[in-house]
Structures are given as C-alpha cells and as structure tokens.
Symmetry: D2
Subunit: 337 residues, 4 copies
C-alpha cells in the first residue's frame, strides 16, 4: 500500500527560499505519494488586468513554494527522485504580466540601462481543463487565441549545499526556478541531496509556457499536483536531471546562457557515457548529432537550459536502476484512484 500525504498550505505556510528553514511542512518516506496544492507565482493576488504586480504583490515575497518536505533517510550524497504523476490547474483562470525591468526583451536590474521601463500590463487567461485549452485575450485589439493547455511546474528543488538559502526566484544546482516547459506530468526529476531530509519544495505552476519565458511570466496558475517520491541512496546528482518515458535530460542554470548550455551538455555527456559505455568523446560526438537543447528560461537570475537525448539511441540503458518506471506506475495508480 502506498501512503498518500496531502498538503494544502495556508498562505502563511508558504515558503520563499530553498534552504534556511529547519522546520519541514511534512515528513515523507521514500515510496510515499504527495498530493500538494501550490499557489501561483503572484501569491494568487493578480486576478484581473487591473491588478498590477508592482502594486499588489508584496516583494520580495513572490514565487511561493509549498514545502519544504523532509524525506526520511535522505542524506547528502543521495539523489531524490520526484515523479510528477499529474499537474492540474486549480482554477478556471490564470494570469500573466510584464513586470518593470524584468523579462527577456527589457533592461533589468543586472542588464542595467537608463531607459524607461516597459509598460506594466496584466493578461488574464481562461483555463478550460476539459477542452485542454488556455485562452489568450489581446489587450490592444479584439482578438483571442486558444493555446494548448500543457501544465508544468516552474519551480522544484531541494535545500542548497554549503549552508546556503536561495530565493525561490533563483534556479541553480539545487533546482529552484528552472522554468522548463519539460517539467510536466509524466516526468521524473532527480535532485542531488545536500542536507539531511533533502527538504524539497514545489511551486510556480504554469498552464503553459513558451521557450525562454521571454515575457518574464508564464500562464501562472495554482495547481493540484501529485508527486511520487523516492530516494536513491549513495548516488549523487550534481545538477537536476529529468527523465520521461522517451528521453533523458540534464539541466544547467547559469549566466551567460552558453554556460547553462555547457553545464547541461557536459552533464549529459557524462550521463550518456556512464549508461552506454561510450568514452566521453564518443558520447560528445553522439550528442552533437542526436542531442537536443530545449531552452527553459532566459529571464531569471540564472538562465536555464536542458540537454536531452532520446532513449531509443541508448538501447538497453536504464537510468537510476529504473526508478522512473517504478514511480510512474505508483503515481498512475494514485492518480487513477
């Protein structure tokens, strides 16, 4: 029997950092399934086109995460496996916005310019889970566009190493705000454990997101999410990895963007080499022809890229002793119950 833990945090229970907290929201065992509610990145207060984030959001308290969750037995040097069995929008609307000096096509706090900021503007999307659509409403002309619903979590991570605590806005080797559209239901996330209990947390649901999240915000939504949890003892994972039924994926988060690319490709060269028996140069050559490099975000304090390879090119190779397949089965059963 799988234990299913349900966690629906009150606003004051939400967290705004990875690390820095010793009191977990819940304690889980490897093998448990977590049903968790996550609030949107605005804390749920951007509800109409008149709710400008700079006026209604209490900075720096943005991008709340649910957690942290303590995993019994997790020690530094282990790997935490989180299989996202389902991600479902909790409301029939979602919000997006331009934010002053934040985003991909504007000067920012770091790419500092003397120009005036872009206009702050909010878009409210209709969310139709039945139809599998979100509806964009233009603000400058009378136009709506239906886009496929494709729910994902922008933020998932563990407490960082070296005693650090990082804002939930930041993606780095501990995970965090990676904002990859590939982190959707059906995917297992592998995170290296840095502190006892791992202290993982999840947030920042998106009904969908373009590559790069260029506007600075996706179709931001509260989510009801089911996660199957497991622990791989004695195996370390330096940067977050994803596994789907079809592909292996390494992530890198850094600036400039080519370093995010390099980290992710370098990690995948090593992973492919280890799984296939190819030496590093052979794995590098294979990635050069068969690899993918899906862009996650080009707006957060670190940019995130993913390096991916289809499993069909790695016949017979099984990552992390097949934990993805096991968790998928567990998760599916809980979701279907």
């Amino acid at each position: 029997m799988t234990d299913v833990i349900t966690h629906h945090p009150r606003p004051e229970q939400l967290s705004y950092t990875f690390g820095g907290t010793t009191e977990p929201a819940e304690r889980l065992n490897p093998g448990d399934v977590l049903r968790v509610y996550t609030e949107d990145c605005f804390g749920g207060v951007v509800r109409s086109v008149k709710d400008l984030p700079s006026q209604v959001v209490r900075f720096p308290f943005v991008n709340p995460v649910s957690g942290p969750f303590y995993v019994n037995g997790a020690q530094p040097g282990d790997t935490l496996a989180l299989h996202f069995a389902s991600i479902s929008p909790a409301r029939d609307w979602a919000a997006s916005a331009t934010l002053p000096h934040f985003g991909g096509l504007t000067g920012t706090s770091h790419t500092a310019t003397l120009q005036d900021p872009l206009q702050e503007r909010v878009w409210i999307y209709d969310v139709d889970v039945e139809a599998g659509l979100v509806r964009y409403h233009a603000s400058s002309i009378d136009l709506t566009i239906d886009l496929p619903l494709d729910p994902m979590h922008g933020t998932v991570g563990v407490a960082p190493a070296a005693g650090e605590a990082r804002s939930t806005i930041v993606p780095d080797s501990h995970g965090g705000n990676m904002d990859s559209p590939l982190l959707r239901a059906g995917v297992t996330v592998y995170l290296g454990v840095n502190v006892e209990g791992a202290m993982f947390a999840i947030g920042d649901g998106h009904c969908r997101q373009g590559a790069g999240e260029v506007t600075g915000a996706a179709v931001e939504a509260a989510m009801n999410t089911v996660v199957a949890v497991d622990l791989i003892k004695g195996v370390s994972t330096p940067w977050p990895r994803f596994e789907s039924d079809d592909a292996l994926m390494s992530t890198g988060s850094a600036r400039p963007l080519e370093d995010a690319f390099r980290i992710s490709q370098h990690d995948l060269v090593g992973w492919v080499s280890q799984l296939s028996g190819l030496d590093a140069l052979d794995a590098y050559q294979l990635l050069g022809q068969a690899g993918r490099a899906p862009v996650a975000n080009v707006v957060d304090p670190n940019y995130t890229m993913v390096a991916a390879i289809d499993k069909r090119y790695l016949a017979g190779a099984t990552a992390y002793a097949g934990v993805h397949e096991r968790l998928r089965a567990v998760g599916r059963q809980v979701v279907e119950d």
Copy 2:
C-alpha cells in the same frame, strides 16, 4: 516555364567569404530554380578516421560555399527569398570530428584557457538515403547507432552591408554559418539584400545535426540541392528569417547566447505584431506563452538562435505576400520532374 540553372563548382570555384567578390558564379532571375552542388565543410578531404582536419584541411580555407549568385534586379533594401525544395546527400558517407580548441565543451580561441586541447578525432558515418538513416560508429567501443537522416544546410547568406566581407564560418545579419537544423527542405529563407545582385551563396550540408552542434561539426556532407529563388522588392529584412508550412521563424546570431536569443525574439515580436495587428506588448506576451526558441549553434564565431511561432496561432496572416507557398509549388514541380 521555370528556368532551371545548374551549378556544380570545380574546387577552385568555391568561395570562402560572403562579400568581397564582384564576379558572380552565375546570374539568376527572380523565379528561377537553382540546382547546386555543395562541397562539405572540410572541402571533401576528411574521408577516413585517419584524416585529421588539422592535418588535411588547408586553414582558413574551410567551409566552402557554392556561389556567389547574382540575382538580377536585387537592390539594397529588398528581400531575397530562397526556398529549399530538396537537399540530398551526394555521397554514401559523411564525416564529423572534434577539432582542437573548437566546439561547445572546450576552451577555444576566444574562451581562451591554458588547458591542453581535447583529442582530435574523426567519425565517418554511413549515409543510407533509401532507409533515411545515418549510422554512427563509436570509436571507443564496438557500437553503432542509427539516426534519422535529416538533411540541412548550415550556411546560406548574402553579401554583408557596409562593404564588409565575412568568412563563411561566421553567422551574422547577412546569414552565413547559422547551423540551424531547421534549415531543411521545405523551408523558405528570407535574407535582406545589402548589395546589388544580393550575391547569395550556399554550403555546409549536414545529414543531420544536434541542437547547438556541440561537437563543433555535424554529420558533414556534400549535397545536391534545389533552391527556388525570388525577390521581394522594397521590403527589408534585418535578420534572416525562415518560413515553413507550419511556422514563422526569426534568427539572431551573436555572443553571448542570450543576445542571439534577444535578437531573434525581438525580430519575431515585430513580425508577429505586423502580421497580426497586435501591439508590441501583446505580441511579446503571446510569444512568451506560445513561442519556441530552437538553438542552432553554440560553437561558431557568433552563436545562433531561432525564435519560432506556429502559424496556426496567427490565423489568416500571410508573410511576404505568400511567397513561401508560391516557391514551394515551383520547387516541388522541379524536384518531381
């Protein structure tokens, strides 16, 4: 009747720059179709795993292009449309390699380090056009992997502006060595004309390529290619754009990689805005949720990214007065003849 011009250059007719040449290889009229042979990036001299590029290639004479082709009537401020009707490997083998201090996971001439270079190594691929496959042969263990054949051109461009001549290794606003896997058959490339006659050229065929071309070389091959040519008078195009049956794509080539991202997304915001009537912020928001950002290369003197949006989200919009559809029909007829 469509005029079909065939050009199979002798080695001494190949070009190594965009611009800097006043004598065209051929003169074409808008509406003509070009059948062109292109040599591989090594000049065809890397034929076995013993042919190390540093020994057999005569630097800087790498990445030869066929051309330049003079288009009658082309003037600065016009746009050249090149529809790739077909791209077919000319041999049953293709080559790839690691090159000293070139590639995505090594120090380079510019990311200068004091470390020893990676080992130089060559891989020869079998090319099976019938089966639609290229076969990778590992060098460190006894392993072959079949990958889908997906022919493309890494290099296409026109003479640059401002009297410049650029090595064919470089991608920039004139096109050049963009190395995007999306530049495959069925795609129309739009290039802003900078000099009388446009002086376009094509080369660097790849049987396939991973995103980023991280090894520094793709599955490099000579190609027989069919291109339908047209001219859009009085319409300028600041950075190369692609159009397929399904998508509109803008490119950007720059360092760091985020600037390539910014250029491409910025151009696509403007293009979408112009085609749809959305204002810039609305187009930006739409791209933030529906845009794609396929990585082209992260190894050349400038890195290249593509920004893409599916046409289905831009109902009714027709780019460049429908030249893509027209050229596709012309090209298909020539290919089928």
Copy 3:
C-alpha cells in the same frame, strides 16, 4: 571616547555564509571601532608548496569570514559604513595556488569543458611588511620577483535580503567576495542593510592582487584589520559602494562581465547625478569621458567590476553627509594609539 572592540575568532567561530546565522560574533554600536583578525581563504592550512588545496582544504569550508557583527540600531533600508583604517598581514608568509577547474584561464564548473584540469600548484610568498614587499618565487625556474605589498580584503558584506544565505565565495548586492584591490586601507565601504543588525563580516585578506584575480587566488594572508563602523539611517544603498579620499566608486557583481560593468556604471550615474545635480544623461556623458572601470574579479561565481570617478570632478559634492571623513579621523586615531 571611541569604543574599540577586539575580535580574534577561534577556528570554530569562523563563518562560511553571509546570512543564515542569527547569533552574532559581537554586537557593536555605530561609532565603534573593530579590531579584527581574519584567517586566509584556505583556513590557514596551505603553508608550503606541498599543501595542495584539493587535499588539505575541507570544501565547501573555504574563504572563512570573521563575524557576523551585529550593529545596534541597523534596520533594512539603512546603510552601513565600514571604514578600513588599517589592514596588516599577520604572518611573514602568504599563499597562492591554481585550483582544478577554478580561475580565469581554465574551464570551470560552469564554463564546463571536457578537457583535463590545469595542474594544481602552490606558491608561497615571503611577506616583508617593513620593506613593503611580497616576494614571488617561480616554481619552473630559479627566479624571484619583488612586488609591492598592497593589503586588501577580498570579502566584506552583510546578510542578504529576502531570507537568503550566500556562500562567502559569492559576491552580489550584499557585498561578499568582491575581490577588488581597491578595498584597501583608507577606504570606506557602504553596504545596504537587509536585516536587523546588518550582520556584517570580513575576511579573505590579500597581500596584493592583480586585476581580475586571474589565477583564482591572490597572495592570500591572515590579516589584523581595524574598521571604524557607522550607520546612515534611512538611506538605502542598492549595491556596495566604496569611497576613498580621492574617488567615489560603485560596484557590480554579475555574469557575464558586461553586466557587472553595467550595474556599477549605472549605479555611479545615479550617484553622480544625485550629488551634482546633473541629469542622468549628463552624468552618463561625464562618466563616459572621466570614469574609470577597475576590474575586480573574473573568477568568482559572480564577476565584479568597479565604476569610479575622481572627486575633483565633482567639486563640492559630499557623499553620505561626510561619513568617510569622520570615520577616517576616528580610524586614524585608533590606529595611531
């Protein structure tokens, strides 16, 4: 009468993060002077050319700082002023090293490459405070070179905002490991306060350092340092600033390096504008012709640049109501006593 607080931490009292600690090492009042001992970045264990850091240093416990110090009355939104009255090497030797995958001319954890690391090597310098020299001993040939002693602190900062805790290796808007040779005796550092008590700390003494700290380590030394402390209530400082008798300086820490440049220049444009009455464009123009841009580090997790302008071009302007002059007088008296 100035209160002088002396703090010589035992090894177990050293800190490895800014933020994340609630228990201060000492509590100070504005106006106090702190005499503090700081250990070197290796924790004092690299004492001969045989002490390779990768073998003798207990990662991640590098770059220890003395502190944190709680300043009574300091609140978020205030500015802490730390005047470095003197910085004196505590030993007659100092150490430097190349570290695997760390430094300016090597691939790193983030600029990830597949090449072998550079050789790890240690250099021990003689320190002659009387003569004002450090002596470099070459390892490959029999050669010594005398360089001027120019003591500085690589690391000074406060607890970060937003509940973050950052490794002492990292420079950011809270200060930290900026590694600027300009942070020498005679300089006042201004730091925006993010938490009650400010919780500042100091470490990473260098007998001298080249611009960029390209090797990854400077002439690393334990220091005896005298700091005069003050608080500017109700005035915020977004990024660390320095003031000497001759110049005003803003810092920026980010990647890529141009963003560190932009942050520092942008901050100095604002500071000059505020002090001089020039509008932003006039201040920008003045910096364009009279500004300096001393490079601090190009090796740490963020790179650091300084933007500087000589006070003589800002006749009559006094920064932070003259706190630099006041603290200099206080500090000098304590040092001379």
Copy 4:
C-alpha cells in the same frame, strides 16, 4: 635620414573598412615616419549640440580611417610595429553624443529590448591644447568641468585574415576600433600582418575617453598624428599588443566581456612566459598578482580589454628585439624637428 610621408586625406579618400581595398593611400618603407591627419568618428559633421548624429551622419559611413597604407615588404606572418610619436587635436573643439540604441547603458541592436531609446543628445567640448584641458559643458544645468587632455586613437588596424573586410566600427584580432585610452603618444602598437603590404589605417581620435567608453562616444576629434613605422619579419602576433616605456600590454576583443579578458590575459601569459623563461603556470601566477586589466570599450560590436604588466617585473626582458626603443627615438626626432 628618416623619410617622412605626409598624408592629409580628402573626404572621399577616407576608408570605412579594414581590408577589401587593394589600392593603398600611400606606400611606405619600414623605418619611415608618417604624418597623418585623421577625421573624427562623425566625419566632422557634428559641430554643435543641434547636429544630432542620426540626422547628419550618413550611416554606415561612420568612423572613417586614414589609409590604408601599404608597407613594402610586409607579408603574412610578419608583425607591423606602429609607434605613436605624437597625437594632437586638429581643432579647438570636439564632440560627443548619445546615439539611439548604442552605448553601455542602453538596449542595442544586439542586446535587443522593446524599450524606447535614450534621448539623442550632443555635447561639444572646448579643447585647449596649451592648458592640456578639455571642457565639458553640462546640458541640464549650468556647469562646466575641466578634464585633462589625453589624446588617443580609438582605431588602428591592418587588413584582416581569410579575405575578410571589416567595418571600422569593429575591433578584432586585426585591431580596428579597440577604443583603448592606453593607445596614446609614446606607445608602440604591434599588429600581425595578414596580407601583403599589411594595409594599415588609423582613425577615431579622442581628446580623452573614460574606461569602457560607456556613453558610446568619447571626446571625438580630428587629429594630426605622427607614427614611426617598422616591420618585424618572420614574427607573428595573434592579437594586437601595445608597448609603452613602462609596460607590456596584450589586447582581446570579443563578447562577452570575459572572453575579451581571457584572450588578453592568455596572450600576455604567453608573451611573459616567452620573455622571462617562466613556464605558463608561473607566468599565470605572476599575472594573477601583478597584472592589470584596463577596460577599453564595452560598447562596440566586440568589447575590448587590455592585459598589462609593468616591465620592472620582467627585468632584462626586451620585446620584439627592442623595436619600441628604436622607434621612440626616431619618432621623437621627427616630432621635435
């Protein structure tokens, strides 16, 4: 007897590229001295605060250079030595400006943003050669500031390799628009020869410039300049180098800025190693403690940094067989005549 060649180009004789021209402005022998007039970067047409560059300058015809000059006997693989004996402003005024989407604190064509451009504004400086001053006039308030006259050339270079021609706006391994304040009278510039005759050119005089040239334009002026020319046969120089009486300097031009830093530091490690007999790691360590990293420009198509070391730390080492000392003597004599 030294031959002195005088060249005062008519406007139509000015050049806008390095390379791409086969007809030299003059032919010189090694050992000759050139007296050359250079126009300012605006072509001399920005003469009052009402002359906005976007209205009066005929883009892309900006940054004209005088030349190219053919040096008899120069062959690829040689090094050209240009000693700047004197640089004198040709007028009693000079101009600067903000340019739309160009500069260090604004979005640009490549760091593409959707924000409105900064206001375009012109500043006219008084130039007083006798007093050694340039006078800044604020535009927003009634304020003037006297700054030291410190004439330099922003642009000097040779024809590039590989058949390229580059806009005079671009700095790269052939030299070009490096915009370093260190390229002042008394300095010898070493440039690797790429084509027969070297085809060097000079332009873009600045009465002075801040580090980084953050505004995008310096105190731009026409200049009368004296250059002593020599040729070092059979010695190649991969990136431009400078030598003054006191220091050796390597340059690097690239994006991101850390790559310009890496190129310059890497070249100086090699140069110091070769001159001193230190191995590469020893030279790297020495630079880490004794090196300087003066920023040149952070606004041009490539950013430029200089790596410098004082000659006093390299006792007895003589670069390029003492050509700097020889040319200095020659140049001084011509200037004094």
